[in-house]
């Protein structure tokens, strides 16, 4: 079975600005695929290229196994980051219209819009104007519009922004349900905890370049260092094999990261703690970095690279002038 989205070596420039330099990835049916990257990394441009809103300068994109056509467009749900609704329209009328633009017959679109409003407990607002809804309600309506035609591919940019914890849970469950039904979900977000919790695989791009791609857990393992995180009381530096004790600024007090010599195993450390009566332990785990840590690390590497490139460029200019 061909993937929902197959992107091969795409690149896109706007004038002098290279928005996307190189990206190759696929999104499979039945998975939540996270698209990550700092602001201005090229995420939105990549999404717009998948949706054929803009064309890549090079590379190919296939959706449902073929170049995007009108029939395929009808099977995509898109929730852009900068989203909005027709403020002066009635909720049900607007949802019906947007459903028909996705190929639903007007009657079917209206029926589904009503059923989604009922599910969101917004049925009483069907005949109200969109502007009468609170921001959170508008967000929910927007989400309903995105999924009401039951898309096979859902592309959502910051799906949880503006939602309170209860509604965040509602949307999250909805996404799980769609994944369960086999839809491919591309989720672009800055909320790394959501990615860790929800995403199966991820792509991280920075400065238009693909930096990380693969299973979420595998990438975290890839960035794991030979260290453990412990919480408790005692002098951790007394332990054999510990090269450095790094205090962690976590919410819970007393969490530290213990960096280990390469030949020391985690079992050795655990056994040593158990033998030492002066140490008490409440938490013991491998120091697998969070996606937040990885994100910051990659962004910082890129920033360093930019600084280095700028310095090289300046040196070259000086050399040229000297010659």
């Amino acid at each position: 079975m061909s993937p929902a989205v197959d992107v091969q070596h795409i690149a896109k420039a706007f004038g002098q600005f290279q928005a996307v330099r190189e990206a190759t990835f696929e999104v499979r049916f039945g998975e939540i695929f996270a698209l990550l990257g700092p602001n201005g990394a090229g995420k939105s441009t990549t999404i717009r290229m998948i949706l054929d809103i803009i064309r890549p300068d090079s590379g190919t994109i296939r959706v449902f196994g073929r170049p995007l056509d009108d029939a395929a467009k009808n099977q995509i749900g898109y929730l852009p980051e900068e989203r909005g609704l027709y403020k002066s329209q009635k909720v049900l009328d607007m949802m019906t219209y947007l459903g028909t633009l996705k190929g639903l017959k007007p009657a079917e679109s209206r029926k589904r819009a009503m059923s989604y409003l009922e599910r969101l407990e917004l049925a009483d607002f069907a005949k109200k104007k969109v502007s009468d809804l609170s921001k959170g309600m508008q967000q929910k309506v927007q989400f309903a519009v995105t999924v009401m035609h039951e898309p096979r591919l859902l592309i959502i940019d910051e799906p949880f922004s503006g939602l309170d914890p209860v509604n965040r849970m509602v949307v999250k469950e909805w996404l799980y349900e769609l994944r369960q039904k086999g839809s491919a979900i591309v989720m672009s977000t800055h909320q790394m905890n959501q990615v860790e919790e929800m995403a199966d695989r991820l792509l991280m791009i920075s400065r238009g370049q693909q930096r990380l791609y693969g299973e979420v857990q595998a990438i975290r393992e890839q960035y794991a260092i030979h260290a453990i995180i412990v919480e408790g009381q005692g002098d951790w530096s007394r332990l054999d094999g510990v090269t450095q004790v790094e205090s962690l600024n976590e919410q819970r007090r007393g969490a530290v990261r213990l960096h280990l010599r390469p030949e020391v195993s985690y079992d050795d450390v655990l056994a040593a703690i158990a033998r030492d009566d002066s140490l008490t332990i409440e938490r013991f785990e491998r120091a697998v970095p969070s996606l937040d840590d990885i994100f910051i690390q990659v962004a910082e590497e890129d920033a360093q690279e930019v600084r280095w490139l700028n310095r090289r460029e300046a040196e070259r200019e000086v050399e040229k002038e000297a010659v």
Binding site: P80, G84, S88, L101
Partner: protein
């Protein structure tokens, strides 16, 4: 292209559901009806019956008048004046009635009145609004015209029906005279209706596009529908509602006009009575409206795509609207010499053509060749506008949060 029709239907029904649209569309002709009937009602008491015209004199402050006739000219008071004029045989009694306030004024007609016209007026006190001979004149008039045949009576009441003619122009029927008042009203009304229909529809279209940009709904839309399908659907929808408005304005307006001229109060409004609606030219006017509308709608759509707010859009609109309304600034020249070189050239060029030609064909015979040439130029203008819209109504401009400067336009047009 199916989605073009989806957009069309949604935009059309949304517009037609707007209360403001119907207020604007029906308000204008309805106000004409209200004006016509209101004026007729208010003027009804004094308005002459067109078939039985009897001149009405203004009695001013006199409600009831008394007459003592020593000349023998006034033998009786007609039925129509019985409630306001009393003939007295006894002058003393009449004077007593003036003093007691039973009558407001007493006219004493001298014995030699037929030769001298002498009449004495008695009032209870000095009241300027009672110093009038109107009651006596009215009685005299009705006594004299009692046996006059109706046709002559009408002329006696309104001896002259003055119409102004300009002999320097050729009228539609080939004679050397045209009624300027009637022409002016007709041209003015048609031009206003045309302009309203044209610019209100196009303006709504542009406003709609800008709102979609401001609301950030545009990105969701263009992920489902191609930009040109979106623009096409909007143009057709706003054009249809504009055309519907014009049909209602013209249809109900003509109905109001035809109703008004039947009303007694308008029998003296010669300009209205002389209006000749050139029904045979309405299809040509319609053709101009359709071509002009699509041209301006394409331009307004493109401007909407460029603009991030309505204020920003206005700086671009002005460039295109100015040539189209130039004929209004030259209205006098068009009315005086509609077939001169300047009106002819303006009526052929795109943008200025529709209104210029509308003015000309309403009042004079325009050679068919000129009309064909002008329509051809409007088609060329339309193609140019569609090309412009196709170059600008694109993702890059629609998703941009900023309005480009004039100097950026060539780059945007090149794509």
């Amino acid at each position: 292209m199916n989605k073009l029709w989806t957009v069309f239907w949604y935009e059309l029904t949304t517009q037609l559901k707007r209360r403001g649209y119907w207020v604007g569309t029906l308000g204008l002709p309805l106000s004409l009806f209200v004006f016509a009937f209101g004026y007729n009602f208010l003027a009804g008491a004094a308005a002459p019956d067109p078939q039985e015209v009897v001149r009405q004199f203004d009695f001013r402050g006199i409600q009831r008048a008394g007459i003592v006739d020593y000349s023998g000219a006034f033998r009786k008071v007609p039925e129509s004046l019985a409630s306001r004029i009393t003939l007295y045989d006894d002058e003393q009694q009449a004077r007593a009635d003036v003093r007691s306030g039973k009558i407001d004024a007493l006219y004493v007609v001298a014995e030699d009145w037929a030769e001298t016209g002498d009449v004495r007026l008695h009032t209870p006190n000095v009241a300027l609004d009672r110093i009038t001979s109107a009651p006596l004149e009215q009685l005299f008039y009705e006594t004299v015209v009692e046996d006059v045949e109706p046709r002559l009576l009408r002329r006696l009441s309104r001896p002259v029906n003055l119409e102004l003619f300009n002999l320097s122009r050729t009228s539609r029927d080939g004679t050397q005279a045209t009624n300027e008042d009637a022409d002016f009203i007709l041209v003015y009304v048609f031009t206003i209706v045309f302009l309203l229909g044209l610019f209100v529809s196009s303006g709504y279209l542009m406003q709609g596009v800008i709102e979609e940009k401001e609301n950030k709904a545009i990105e969701v839309l263009i992920s489902s529908v191609r930009p040109l399908e979106l623009l096409g659907g909007k143009i057709l929808a706003y054009g249809t509602q504009g055309l519907l408005a014009i049909v209602l304005w013209v249809g109900l307006g003509l109905l109001a006009l035809n109703t008004a001229v039947q009303l007694p109060a308008f029998q003296t409004a010669t300009a209205l009575l002389n209006i000749q609606v050139p029904y045979e030219r309405l299809p040509i006017m319609l053709a101009y409206f359709v071509l002009a509308y699509f041209t301006f709608a394409a331009i307004y759509g493109a401007i909407g795509a460029l603009s991030s707010s309505l204020t920003d859009g206005s700086q671009y609109i002005f460039v295109f609207v100015l040539p189209s309304v130039i004929p209004l600034y030259l209205f006098g020249i068009f009315l005086q010499t509609p077939n001169a070189t300047l009106p002819t050239i303006l009526s052929i060029l795109p943008l200025s053509g529709p209104i210029s030609m509308l003015i000309r064909i309403t009042i004079v015979e325009v050679p068919v060749l000129e009309i064909v040439l002008s329509l051809g130029m409007q088609v060329i203008g339309l193609i140019g506008a569609v090309w412009l819209a196709a170059r600008l109504f694109r993702v890059q401009t629609l998703l941009s949060g900023q309005t480009p400067k004039w100097r950026d336009l060539p780059k945007l047009l090149r794509g």
